[in-house]
Amino acid sequence: MALKASDLAVGSTYDETIVDNLTRTQLVQYAGTSGDYNPLHTDEVFAKEVAGYPTVFAHGMCTMGMTGKALTNWVGDGRLTKYGVRFKAQVWPGDTLKATAEVTELREEGGVHYADITVSTVNQDGTEVIQGSATARLDP
């Protein structure tokens, strides 16, 4: 089901908990599917003893992917025309993340309706880990 322009207003929001207690195993899964095997994300010994981090941390793209799930759950499948993010802070095992999306503009181009959307993903402490934007094609 896709969103209808007539059901939205500037300021309409949607939020979703995109991960509850992020596991190291999920980071292993993400490494395996994305092909990003940087040991910073899956190899505790390397992350601590060589790179100097407290433990492994999530691929930014894993958090972007989870945030994308919130967007597609809201706007519908195959409706995104743009999706971009900035990575603001690292995401660690055990984190619980919530993504909040908000309509900033509704417009019509060539008879097609679009929503411009901002998205922000925060961790359990309220720290923003991703700040992004997207555009979705809407039903009238």
């Binding site: 896709a2 995109i18 991960v19 999920q26 899964q29 993400y30 395996g32 599917t33 994305s34 092909g35 990003d36 095997y37 940087n38 040991p39 910073l40 899956t42 190899d43 010994v45 390397f46 003893e49 060589v50 790179a51 100097g52 981090y53 407290p54 691929h59 930014g60 793209m61 894993c62 972007m64 992917g65 989870m66 994308g68 799930k69 967007l71 597609t72 759950n73 519908g76 499948d77 195959g78 995104l80 025309t81 743009k82 999706y83 971009g84 993010v85 900035r86 990575f87 690292q90």
Partner: protein, 161 residues
């Protein structure tokens, strides 16, 4: 240098699992056939997984070559050759979707360098940003996805607040 990225249903299914997305559009052919899209569609950030097919991708262990992750030692390469604790991190990622992609498509992926700039960071010393633009074209030559990636190189490990 361009390389080929065959889009496969099992890769899409496993990718969706790895971002915790249980939408049946990503694995169930019959369900997908009944949707507006009409076929299995990759999740929005799937295209970055083209790295699996990039012969030169530096974050994948190469057979018979030393790997910088841990084995007997915390790293498999000479630590004295390291860059003083600095790290390459992903700063931004943007996608534009032009045409739908489905399993069976074979995309041609070509990455070109974009702009570079420097900034003084609060936590990691001097920051060097490098942009790259990646175009994904399908077997019919149509541009299906454009990606813009910004990487940042820090002089030292990012301090934790």
């Amino acid at each position: 240098m361009a390389f080929r990225f065959p889009v496969e249903a099992s890769h899409i299914m496993m990718f969706a699992r790895s971002v915790g997305d249980k939408n049946p559009l990503y694995y169930d052919d019959e369900y997908a056939a009944g949707t507006e899209v009409g076929h299995i569609l990759p999740p929005p950030t799937f295209y970055q997984s083209s790295a699996q097919f990039n012969p030169d991708y530096f974050l994948r262990p190469k057979i018979d070559e030393p790997w910088f992750g841990s084995g007997k030692a915390p790293t498999g390469v000479d630590p004295s050759a390291g860059g003083g604790g600095g790290t390459g991190l992903h700063a931004e990622q943007h996608f534009e979707y032009h045409q739908p992609v489905k399993p069976g498509d074979v995309l041609t992926v070509e990455t070109k360098p974009g702009e570079s700039w420097e900034k003084q960071g609060r936590r990691g010393g001097k920051l060097i940003f490098n942009e790259s633009i990646t175009e994904y074209r399908n077997q019919d030559g149509e541009l299906v996805v454009t990606a813009r990636s910004v990487g940042v190189q820090t002089e030292k490990v990012v301090e934790q607040d």
